[in-house]
């Protein structure tokens, strides 16, 4: 089907309605290539945002659990008491602003917990990596003939004591992550790959172990497998 201007309005309606994917597939727009591409991009990003929201809610839940479960030692209890006093919340019971304070402390702790192991190496003065050399995702890209995506390959200078991670994003927001890799290729487990959709987006993350941080110009591309 050829794309028409009226499709845009219908597409917006479908993608912001109930069960957007099902509504789209059931509509006349499903046979319009341009609409399908827009719908896939929209739903893919919506899936990623759902996953990010899930991440945030999970961290908040973990914080609440940890905060409730932890038994403070004398030094930490004194620190907490001092902060509460300084903020004028000394007499607040848990469940009120005191709980919020607990959350703040917990959140700060969680952030340190999450990022210290891998990120406090800092960044270069210009905020980017000092890596030079050619950087390119080689395969799979565009349409891949056959029933599998094959071996993932890339060109990227491996940082000193660094490693690569490949992340494969399905259209439902599901993310598959490779093990840490030193080679410039990775062949996913066939069983895992079988569960992926026929169109994926994959990202190459690069870590610089000597600085303890991720290199931030990650590369990303899309690929589609086709047995036609």
């Amino acid at each position: 089907m050829k794309h028409e201007a009226r499709h845009d309005e219908i597409l917006a309606e479908l993608l912001t309605g109930a069960s957007p994917r099902e509504s789209f597939e059931a509509s006349e727009l499903a046979s319009c290539a341009a609409c399908r591409e827009l719908a896939e991009a929209h739903l893919g990003l919506a899936g990623e945002l759902d996953a990010a929201g899930g991440f945030e809610r999970a961290q908040l839940a973990a914080l609440a659990d940890d905060d409730a479960a932890i038994e403070l030692g004398p030094a930490e209890a004194e620190f907490r008491r001092r902060v509460l006093r300084d903020l004028g919340l000394e007499r607040q019971a848990r469940g009120g602003p005191g709980a919020l304070l607990g959350l703040l402390v917990a959140a700060a702790a969680l952030v340190a917990l999450l990022v210290v192991p891998k990120m406090i190496g800092g960044e270069d003065d210009d905020g980017g990596p000092r890596m030079g050399g050619e950087k390119e995702l080689l395969a799979p890209v565009e349409v891949v003939p056959g029933e599998t995506y094959g071996t993932f390959r890339w060109r990227y200078p491996l940082p000193e004591r660094g490693w690569f991670l490949v992340q494969v994003h399905g259209e439902d927001g599901k993310i598959t992550t490779s093990p840490r890799l030193r080679a410039h290729e990775w062949t996913p487990d066939p069983e895992e790959e079988a569960s992926w959709p026929d169109r994926i987006r994959w990202t190459l993350e690069v870590y610089d172990g000597s600085r303890g941080s991720r290199v931030f110009d990650a590369l990303s591309t899309s690929a589609e497998r086709s047995s036609d």
């Binding site: 050829k2 993608l15 912001t16 319009c32 290539a33 341009a34 591409e37 991009a41 929209h42 990003l45 945002l49 996953a51 990010a52 929201g53 899930g54 991440f55 945030e56 961290q59 908040l60 940890d66 932890i70 038994e71 030692g73 930490e76 620190f79 907490r80 903020l87 919020l100 304070l101 959350l103 703040l104 402390v105 917990a106 959140a107 700060a108 702790a109 969680l110 952030v111 340190a112 917990l113 999450l114 990022v115 192991p117 891998k118 406090i120 190496g121 565009e142 004591r161 490693w163 991670l165 993310i175 093990p179 840490r180 172990g209 000597s210 303890g212 941080s213 990303s220 591309t221 899309s222």
Partner: protein
């Protein structure tokens, strides 16, 4: 929490450093509290604020922890890293570059899991307006993300 953190980090941060970090962040939160728009969950706002403020602070410390000194025999990622953390940050950075209204609606939809009816009610706009702003906002967000992580082959084959 402090005890929990020390336990999990195996003493990677000393108590004084951690105390400074927490106190400074708390002070900043208190200062920034008036910026809270009031339409999303306060806990979520606080979490985001603290998460990224402390993240920025930690990156300034330029200290390599013991864990990453052992990359010659690196553990599997799920043990040492928070799954989804990088995606969370990537989307956060893009949302921060989006206009505030669109970012608010997208967060209310996906992070706070509100319906468009609820979003409209919270923002004082009709449901269809909330939907339209969301849809346009998501398209802009996609553009921002693609500009940051170019997809040279995407979109070529799907044109009309």
């Amino acid at each position: 929490m402090v005890a929990f953190q020390n336990k999990r980090l195996g003493g990677s941060l000393d108590a004084g450093e951690l105390e400074d970090l927490v106190q400074e962040t708390l002070t900043q939160i208190w200062r920034k509290l008036p910026d809270y728009a009031g339409d999303g969950a306060l806990e979520s706002w606080v979490f985001r604020f603290v998460y990224f403020e402390v993240l920025a602070r930690l990156r300034q410390l330029r200290r390599v922890p013991q864990l990453l000194d052992e990359v010659d025999d690196p553990p599997e990622p799920e043990a040492a890293e928070a799954p989804g953390a990088f995606e969370y940050e990537r989307l956060h950075l893009a949302l921060e570059r989006l206009d505030a209204e669109a970012a608010r609606i997208i967060r209310l939809k996906h992070y706070d899991e509100l319906t468009f009816e609820d979003i409209g009610a919270r923002l004082g706009v009709p449901t269809n307006t909330a939907k339209t702003r969301y849809y346009r906002g998501l398209a802009k967000l996609r553009g921002l993300l693609e500009a940051r992580w170019p997809e040279p082959t995407a979109g070529e084959e799907g044109g009309a």
